[in-house]
C-alpha cells in the first residue's frame, strides 16, 4: 500500500470474508471426504488405516473382477432414464413455460409436493402398485381378467423408479431453459417462412439447450449413483455399481475396495460431464460469446 497505513492490513476484501463459512463447510463436508476416499483407494485391502504404504493393488483386483457388469448396468439404466425423462419432461416443461400460464404454479406445486416424502417410502408405494396381486395387477385381473404380475423386480421397473424419482431434476431446468427462448425469435423465424416444426428444430431446441444439458447431466449423475431404485424395485434383477460400493463398505468391511469403486464412478461421471461440456459450448449457444 502506497499510504503505508497500518490499519489497511486488517481491511480484508468483504467478498472473501463472506466466502469463509462456505469455504470451510465445503472443505470439511466435500473436499475432505473426497480426499479420504481417494487416499483409501490406494491402501491395502481390508485396512481401516490411511497410513499404510500406498499401492495400486486394489485397482488391479477391481479391474480383473467382474465389476464391469455393474458399471454397464448403471450406465445403461442412467442413460435410458435420461432419454425417457427428456421425452416425458420436454412437452410438460413447454406447457409450463409457455402455455399453462397461472396453472403452471399448480403443476409446480403438484410436482414438488411428493418430494416432501422420503424417496424410499415413495418407492415402496410403487412396490405395492406393481407387486403380483398388487394394486395394478389385482385391479386388472378384477376388471378385465388380464394379468400383469411380472412387472416388479425387472429392469423396466428400475427405469420407472429412476424416471419417477428424478423427474423434477429434469423438468425444472427444462422449464427455465425453454422460458429463455424469446418469443420474438419464434415470430421472426415464422415470418421468414419456417413452419411450426422448423421453428422448434432451428430455434427453440438449440436455444433451450442450456436447460436440456443441465437437466440431462443432473439426472444422469443422480441415476448413475442411485441405489434404492435397483434394490427396492429391481430386487435381484440387476446389481448397479452403487450397490457394489455399499456392499464393499458395509457387508464386506473392505473400505479400500469400496473407495476404488467410488473413485472409478466419480471419474466416469467426470469424464461424461467434461466431454459434454467440451462438445457443447453453452455460452455460445445462448450467444454470450
Amino acid at each position: 500500500m502506497a499510504t503505508g497505513n497500518k490499519s489497511s492490513i486488517w481491511r480484508i476484501n468483504p467478498g472473501r470474508l463472506a466466502a469463509i463459512p462456505a469455504s470451510v463447510f465445503l472443505l470439511i463436508g466435500f473436499a475432505g471426504p473426497l480426499a479420504m476416499v481417494i487416499g483409501y483407494s490406494f491402501m491395502p485391502a481390508h485396512t481401516f488405516s490411511l497410513l499404510q504404504v500406498p499401492s495400486l493393488e486394489n485397482y488391479v483386483s477391481v479391474v480383473a473382477d467382474s465389476y464391469y457388469i455393474s458399471f454397464f448396468w448403471s450406465l445403461f439404466l442412467a442413460s435410458t432414464a435420461v432419454v425417457i425423462l427428456f421425452l416425458v419432461c420436454y412437452p410438460m416443461a413447454y406447457g409450463m413455460a409457455k402455455i399453462f400460464g397461472p396453472w403452471a404454479n399448480l403443476v409446480t406445486a403438484l410436482i414438488i409436493l411428493p418430494l416432501l416424502i422420503s424417496e424410499n417410502i415413495r418407492l415402496f408405494g410403487w412396490v405395492l402398485i406393481l407387486l403380483k396381486n398388487g394394486i395394478l395387477d389385482g385391479s386388472l385381473k378384477y376388471l378385465f381378467d388380464v394379468s400383469a404380475s411380472g412387472l416388479l423386480y425387472t429392469v423396466p421397473s428400475i427405469v420407472l423408479g429412476l424416471v419417477y424419482v428424478y423427474l423434477p431434476f429434469m423438468l425444472f431446468p427444462l422449464v427455465s431453459g425453454i422460458s429463455m427462448v424469446p418469443e420474438s425469435l419464434k415470430d421472426a423465424a415464422s415470418d421468414l417462412g419456417a413452419s411450426r416444426w422448423e421453428i422448434f428444430w432451428e430455434v427453440e431446441l438449440p436455444l433451450s439447450m442450456p436447460g436440456i444439458m443441465i437437466g440431462g447431466i443432473l439426472t444422469f449423475i443422480l441415476s448413475l449413483g442411485s441405489l434404492a431404485e435397483a434394490k427396492i424395485l429391481g430386487g435381484q434383477a440387476v446389481v448397479m455399481i452403487a450397490d457394489d460400493i455399499e456392499s464393499a463398505f458395509t457387508f464386506a468391511q473392505n473400505w479400500p475396495k469400496g473407495s476404488v469403486l467410488s473413485v472409478m464412478l466419480i471419474g466416469l461421471s467426470g469424464v461424461v460431464v467434461f466431454l459434454l461440456f467440451r462438445r457443447i459450448d453453452l455460452d455460445q449457444i445462448i450467444g454470450r460469446r
Binding site: A188, S190, L192, G193, A194, E202, I285, G287
Partner: protein
C-alpha cells in the same frame, strides 16, 4: 389494367379489436409497388398492431388485406410473401452472421453453395466485410446488426419488406446515417418498403408517402411535403416537432382573431365554414425584431431565451399571456437582442396554416 398494377397492397376497412379496445379502426390504404411508405404515430396509436396484422402475426377482426389481388387475411405468417425487420432485430444468437442471413434460404431448401453465394452478395450490398460471414451476431455493433437483420430479410426476397422501428434503439448520428442508407437500399432494390416509426422526422427523410396514425385510424396520408406544409389538423402539425399554435376564431374574410387578444392575423386560405380553430406558424418562417417590421401579421412579446441548434439559432419569446413562441434563424442571420426586451414577431399570411381542429 394500369390501375390494377398500381395498387400493390390494399387495405380495406382493416380493423383489430382486443376485447372492448379497438387498436386499428377501419383503415383504408393503397400502397403502390416500389413505394417507401411510412406509418407514423405516437405510442398507442395502433401502428404496431397494424404491422402485426400485415405480416400475419395477428389476425384482423374485420376488413381485408389484399396483395396483388390475393386476399392475405387467412394466410399464416410463414406462408406470406412478406417479411419484417423487427424492432429488436430478432437475430438468432446461436447462429453466426452468415447462418442468420441464410436462414430463410435454408427454410426454402436452397442448396448450401447457392445460399452462401447469396449471403456473400448481400454482405457486399450492405457494405459489410465478407469475413463477417463467420462472426457471431453478438460480436457485431448496433449498426452492423441492423445490416445483418436487413440482409436476412432481403435474402427472403419478399414482395414487401416491413420495418418495425428498427432504428429507434440507435444513437442519433448512427440513426441519421442508417436512415439515408436504408433509403439508398430501397432505391437499389426497388422493393416495396413499409416502415413504422414514432418519429415524423425519420419518416420525412426516407418516405415517398407518409400515413399519420392516431387512436387506430389514419388521420392523413400524403407526401412528406404535403404532411409538412398542409397538415390536416393540429395533431399532424404538432407531430412534426415544435410549432407555434394560436387558438383563433374567424374575424372576416381571410382574417382570424386570436382568442387571447394577441392580435388579428391575415391568412391566404381558410377551410370551408371556418369559425374557430388553430393558426399554426412554423418557427423557421417567423421573423424577429427589425426583420418583422412591415409584415401584415405582427405580435409582441418579451425576448426570454435563445438556444443554439447547430445550423440554426432558436429564440423563445413569451407573450403577455404567458404563451411561449419560437422563432428560428439560420446562423448567418442571427437576432441580436437583449433578454427581457419587448420584440416584434411577424410572418407572411402565406406562411401560416389554419386548421379547424
Amino acid at each position: 389494367m394500369k390501375d390494377k398494377a398500381e395498387t400493390f397492397l390494399e387495405l380495406k376497412g382493416l380493423t383489430k379489436k382486443f376485447g372492448e379496445f379497438t387498436a386499428v379502426s377501419e383503415v383504408d390504404l393503397q400502397i403502390a409497388e416500389g413505394e417507401f411508405f411510412t406509418l407514423v404515430g405516437p405510442s398507442g396509436s395502433g401502428k404496431t398492431t397494424m404491422i402485426r396484422l400485415l405480416v400475419g402475426m395477428d389476425l384482423p377482426t374485420s376488413g381485408d388485406i389484399i396483395l396483388k389481388g390475393t386476399r392475405l387475411n387467412d394466410v399464416p405468417a410463414n406462408k406470406r410473401p412478406t417479411c419484417m425487420v423487427f424492432q429488436n432485430l430478432a437475430l438468432f444468437p446461436h447462429r453466426n452472421v452468415g447462418e442468420n442471413i441464410e436462414f430463410p434460404l435454408k427454410i426454402a431448401k436452397v442448396a448450401p453453395a447457392v445460399r452462401r453465394e447469396r449471403a456473400m452478395a448481400l454482405l457486399e450490398q450492405l457494405h459489410l466485410p465478407l469475413d463477417f460471414y463467420d462472426k457471431g451476431v453478438n460480436q457485431c455493433s448496433g449498426g452492423e446488426r441492423q445490416r445483418v437483420a436487413l440482409a436476412r430479410a432481403l435474402a427472403f426476397d419478399p414482395e414487401i419488406l416491413f420495418f418495425d422501428e428498427p432504428l429507434s434503439a440507435l444513437d442519433f448520428r448512427l440513426r441519421k446515417a442508417l436512415e439515408k442508407e436504408l433509403k439508398d437500399i430501397h432505391r437499389e432494390t426497388g422493393k416495396t418498403f413499409v416502415y413504422i416509426t414514432h418519429s415524423l422526422e425519420e419518416a420525412m427523410v426516407m418516405s415517398d408517402r407518409i400515413g399519420i396514425m392516431k387512436d387506430g385510424a389514419l388521420v392523413q396520408i400524403g407526401t412528406p411535403n404535403e404532411i409538412y406544409n398542409k397538415p390536416i389538423n393540429k395533431f399532424v402539425a404538432q407531430f412534426m416537432g415544435e410549432v407555434n399554435t394560436l387558438e383563433v376564431e374567424a374575424a372576416g374574410d381571410m382574417t382570424v382573431r386570436d382568442i387571447k387578444g394577441e392580435g388579428t392575423f391575415e391568412v391566404k386560405s381558410m377551410p370551408d365554414q371556418f369559425s374557430r380553430g388553430y393558426l399554426i406558424v412554423r418557427p423557421e418562417v417567423m421573423k424577429l425584431g427589425p426583420a418583422a417590421s412591415g409584415l401584415p401579421n405582427i405580435m409582441h412579446g418579451k425576448f426570454f431565451n435563445d438556444y443554439a441548434l447547430g445550423s440554426r439559432m432558436q429564440y423563445q419569446i413569451r407573450s403577455p399571456s404567458g404563451d411561449q413562441w419560437l422563432v428560428e434563424r439560420l446562423q448567418d442571420e442571427v437576432f441580436d437582442g437583449t433578454f427581457g426586451d419587448t420584440v416584434a414577431l411577424g410572418w407572411r399570411p402565406e406562411d401560416s396554416i389554419l386548421v379547424s381542429e
